[in-house]
Structures are given as C-alpha cells and as structure tokens.
Amino acid sequence: MIPIPELKRIATQIRRDIIRQTSRCASGHPGGSLGCAEFFTALYFRILRKKLPFSMEGKGEDVFFLSNGHISPVFYSALARSGYFPVEELNTFRKINSRLQGHPTTHEGLPGVRMSSGSLGQGVSVALGAALAKRLDKDPGLVFALTGDGELQEGQIWEALMAAAHYKIDNLIVTVDWNGQQIDGPNDKVISLGNLPGKWESFGWEVLLMNGNDMEDVISTFELAISKTGEKKPVVILMKTIMGCGVDFMEGNYKWHGVAPNAEQTEIALAQLEETLGDF
C-alpha cells in the first residue's frame, strides 16, 4: 500500500503533467483537472482494485467512468503514471494521430478508458449500467464514477439518480467534483445547485462529504464510502475542491476552466510544483 506522503508526491507530479500537457497543445482544461489531482491519485494508486493489462470488460476488478470528460489531462496522467500506457505518450495530448483525444474516448483504443465522455451528463447512467451488469454477474468489483458540479444541470443525471435508488444498486460510488465553478462563472450565478446534499438524499442516495484537496480526507472518505457499499443504496461523495488547486494564480478562478497557460504562466506554475517522479 502506497503511504499518504508518497501519494501526495504523485499528486504533485500529476499536477505538473496537467500543466505541461495543456501548455504544450495550448488548449485543454487545467482548472478542474488540478482540483481533482488528489482524487485521481487516491483512486488509481490506492483505492481501485485494478488489473493490468487493461481489459474493457473489467471482470473481477473495480472500474471507473469519467463523466466530465474535459478534465482528461488529470485522467490521462493518472492512467499513464499507474501503468496503463507509457508516460511519454502524454506528449501527444490533443495532437493529431493521438490516442489522447481532447476528451477521452474508447475509439482510439487508449488503455484505461471504457467510455467516451465530453458531452455532459451521461457518465452516471453508464456507471449505473455497469454496476447492474456486475451485480447480474455476481462480480465483486465496484463501479466508480466522477461528475462535475455544473454537469448536474443536465437532466439525465437525475434520471440516473432516480433509477439507481430504484434498483437499490449498492456497488456504485459516484463522486461529484464540487468546485462551485463552471465555464460561465460560479454555479450559483449560472444555475444554482441549491441544497446539493439534500437533493441527493431525497433521491435515495447515501451522501458523504469530502475535502477533495486533502489526501488524508480523500483516502478516509473513499474507505468510508466502500464500507457503505452492499447496503441496498447507492453512495455519492460530494467532493469539495478548489478549481486550479496547486497553482496560486489559477485557484478558485472559473476563468481557468478551459484555458491553457501560456509560456510565462507555465513557468510560474511549474515553479510551484516539484518534479517528484520525472517529467514526461
């Protein structure tokens, strides 16, 4: 088991990868990616019971679906750093003939990706279907999914929430990246999410809160969530994060949702993030 100080070092390298990927192609979504560095590190280096080489059907293992596909830089970095594909391939992000498309896809056969995402609101439904299939197969693997908070404005999400509770699905852990920001500004200004914990509870979900930028809390909340599976109820983790976390001039600023840092900004950002595992 990788100890927490080491997980933190991995998260820092993943943050460097995010900055360097988006900077090199001058596009992509660094803000939400940086905010989810702890989540992906914990998931891929500690929590998921996964098997390599990658198999699409994921028999007997835990599987993960990313619904807010625009945070692909953090997803790709976590996949590469945990052995799904060579780290050097991060160089190809968003470039022609790459498996690392702007938004993740199965179409180019990138190991670790089980579903295309980008058009929002679809991933919880997909994860629910996978969880039902695993239950049918008596497969002990759990299904994890991540959605954004702005994404919760999509109606399909609530269809999936209603259905998951109806089926009493209890091998599914959904996390919401609750950074409070979306492209056009704060959630509260765009379309308020209101009482988010209350909404999920009223849809029949077990609701946990987590500080997504505190590795200790991420690990312990994941462990708590896993302990709550098998109780005839789906589990959601409402994960408070800071958009752009780890890079001071990006933190909490929605303007970094979908803008890549320029050369000067990249230099400033990287100076704040120690190269712990070696850059790609």
């Binding site: 699409m56 059907e57 994921g58 028999k59 599987v63 679906f65 896809t105 199965t106 179409h107 089980r114 579903m115 295309s116 995402s117 980008g118 058009s119 609101g121 679809q122 991933g123 919880v124 439904s125 997909v126 994860a127 629910l128 279907g129 996978a130 969880a131 039902l132 299939a133 695993k134 049918l136 197969d137 497969d139 109606g155 399909q156 269809e159 999936a160 209603m162 259905a163 109806h166 089926y167």
Partner: protein
Amino acid sequence: MWDKYQSTKKSATRNGFGEGFLEAGRNNPQVVGLCADLIGSLKMDAFEKEFPERFFQTGVAEANMMGMAAGMATMGKIPYTGTFANFSTGRVYDQIRQSIAYSGKNVKICASHAGVTLGEDGATHQILEDIGMMKMLPGMCVINPADASQTKKAAIAISNYKGPVYLRFGRPDWPVFLENEEFEIGKALVLKEGKDLSIFATGHMLWQALEAVRILEQEGIDCELINIHTIKPLDEQAILKSVRKTNRVVSCEEHQRAGGLGDSIAQVLVRYHPCRQEYVAVNDTFGESGKPLELLEKYGLGVSDVIKSVKKILE
C-alpha cells in the same frame, strides 16, 4: 411462377420482434433487455417473464436507458433497448452518438411504432427521420424488416452481430409473407426478377411494392423487386447487379425522402451507375392522426403511389 409471397396472416412487426428477442435471450445468456415504460407495446413481456433478472424497466427516462445500456455493454452484456422509434433516436441522439456509437458499444436499439403507420397518435410519435439520423452515425447498422417473420429473424441475428444496431419496426397488423425466406444482415433479398425496372423497398413498403408489382405484371410491366432490409451496411452489389440490367429505379420507404433508403441508393447510383430514380417516400412533411392505411395513401405511400412512380419512370 415467382409469386410465392402470399400473406398467410396478419401480424405486427413488433410481434416478430418480441418473439425474436425472447429467442435471442434463450440462445445467449448475455442478452439483457431495457425498456422505457413500453413493455407491452414493444412485446418485451415474454422475455421479461422468462428472464426477470435480465430485464430492466427504466421508466420514462430514455436518455438514462441508453447510458445504462452502454454501461452494460461495456461489461460484456448484449443490451436490447426498447421504446418507440421517436424516443429511440431523436430524443436520445447525443446519448447514442457518444456513449454507444463513438464508444463502439454492442447495444441493440430496438424501435417500434416507426413511421405514419403508428396511426392515431399523430405526428408527435410518427418519426420519419430516424433512418437518416441513425445511418449517419459511423459504425451503426440500420435494419428495417418488412414483416413479422423477418423482424423475428432480425431480432435474433443482431445478437450475433458485434456492434451497435438500430432495428426499426412498427405498430400495425401487417401481412406476413416472408416466413420461408432467410435473413442475413446486409444481404438484399430478391423477391422477383424482372427487366423493366428495379424496385427497392424496405419495411412495410415491401408489401405495398409487392402488391403494385402484381398489378403491373397484369399490365405487362416486368418489375424486379428487391427487399433492402439492411439500409446500412447497404448491399451495393445487389443494387448494382439489378440496375445494370434495368437502368431504372424506384425506392420505397416509410420515411422522409431526405436521408432514407432512397438517398442511400442514389449515392450508389451516382458513383457507379447513374440512372433515373423515383422516390416513394414522405415528401418533407409531418404526418397526422388517422388509420395506418389511410395515412399511407394520404402521404404518398399507397400501392397506387408505387404504380404511379413506376409508370412515371417508364415514360
């Protein structure tokens, strides 16, 4: 004597789907079903009864149903989704595009009540654009069987086909006349050879075309009649083999002219064998409430419309 296609009985194509779906489920334990509150209409009840643990009522939430099916397919299941054609396509186009087609998932989108023959419910439910929408998606197989027996065979065949499929069928009782014909995805079915022109028909319109061919034969017009049940992948060789002989085409479909079978055939003709073509199809309009046969007549899909198109092209 070519005409062995007598109607032995009438049965809705959706009945054939229900039977085929059940048989596919018996043949393969990976087959699962999902339905958005239309189990009876889709004739999925026999499967649900026999395999309750493999069947998922999703409620009136088609977008979620498509996503669930994609997730199940990812884990190795062969999901059949069931709802009306309108709610199987336009309502959930983006879910199909991203989570099923682009993701390459082995989902079978089974769509009933397509076209004007849905009848009294009217234009909100009578989708006439679905073939076009679905055939444009890369990798999507599109099948529109002509009678209940062919629908049953298609519903079984798609379980053995790897990849996303759109299976389109309908509501009304309809002649059953293809019981003795084999079905193979992507392989056109020649009902009658002829020298004067080629009629290519799909779905309910095959029977209309067949009736027309019988009448025209009495008048000395020798039609070739070919059933294109699989609109994608299209059996281009069968089409070209026929038109190289006849040089004239009439296409028949219960769909908009734009984007349907006729357009798929026209693309083949324009590239390999330019010749005249008449469309028997709905001409850029919505349907309305009425009885299926009344609607077929009103919207240019009657037997007489097929005859008119044949005569026009022979002028």
